[in-house]
């Protein structure tokens, strides 16, 4: 078995991941009827919570901090910020 040599050091206990979803007080929800699939929300999301899947833009809530940039920047105002709590 050959020994692997790295020029740069590597961490040996995996990745540092913080549960940033717990910060959220409001969650963004896309209104599918108004959305024109322009993709501006994806380019401006600081957390990369918006993904492109099966020809549609979708918001994932695992790490979304609820900053609301997507709702403000949407040219068709198709994203609403709805208060957290109630249904998961």
């Amino acid at each position: 078995m050959s020994k692997k040599v790295h020029i740069s050091p590597l961490a040996n206990e995996g990745m540092y991941i913080l549960d940033t979803a717990s910060w959220r007080t409001e969650r963004p929800v896309i209104n599918k009827e108004k959305c024109i699939e322009c993709g501006l929300c994806l380019t401006y999301c600081p957390v990369n919570a918006i993904i492109f899947d099966e020809d549609k833009y979708k918001i994932t809530y695992n790490y979304c901090k609820g900053c609301g940039i997507c709702a403000v920047e949407c040219p068709k105002k198709a994203i609403d910020m709805t208060p957290e709590g109630g249904e998961k």
């Binding site: 050091p9 549960d19 957390v47 492109f52 609301g68």
Partner: protein, 301 residues
Amino acid sequence: MNYIEKLRTSEDMVTPGMSACQGCCGELVLRRILQIAGKNTIVCVPPGCMSGAGVVGWDYQTGMKIPVHIPLLTNTASFLSGVSQMYQRKGRGDVNMIAVAGDGATADGGFQSLSGAAERNEKMLYVCYDNEGYMNTGFQRSSTTTKGSRTSTTPIGEAINGKQQPSKYVSLIMSMHALQYCATASPSHMQDMVAKIERGLSESKKGFAFIHVLAPCPTGWSFEPDQSIQIAKKAVASNMFPLWEKYNGNYYITVENKKPIPVKEFLQSMGKFKSLTDADIAQIQQEADTKYETLKKLASE
């Protein structure tokens, strides 16, 4: 492939959960740069907001999917020079060498090593995300802070009314070195920013590339987190942060402002400038106009 397709198909290299504030443009800039750069990259993040937010890792855990180093505040560019030289010697000139530093590590403490690396034309891309202060330690003033801004070391009171000195225009100073590529970018103009990052990465294989990116900070500048991109848009529209680039010795203004909005609109959209008087605003307006005129003269030659 347009820039939106590029961004939606490229892999995110940074940890999904990092502790940057809501609406942080520094985080946005960091993720976009590394999405464009891809896996074949070495990153250097000096002390600042981004390393404080956990992208350099903590306790034997890493914050990125690619090798990341934390140098000191003062030696980012010289540290990366050494790494870059070693990779050239090993015959790995294809690896992207990127430094993502805040304005403190660029314009204040790290300036001599940065200037030295630019003068030696080391092969790297140095990106400065400029949030106009030392944000991770509680918004102390830096040399790129705009005049009149409230910071924790230049408070508003009887003795002084915010920062007393005009800001240092670090991108223009850097462009006066004989470097390979120099540009300013704003996250609000994403297409322009992606093009500049791509160009910077390809030029960094030949020599030193520097990109100065504006990163509005909701926590320090006192505005709502959802307004980050709007503030960046206003900074460009009011000529507080003109977008230009320099390569092959020539300057080009990339986003031309035919009808600039008054800087008052930019200044009054956030809390850190709330104590400005009309005389202060007039002075800042004059400085912004002078800056843009200088750039126009440089670009027309």
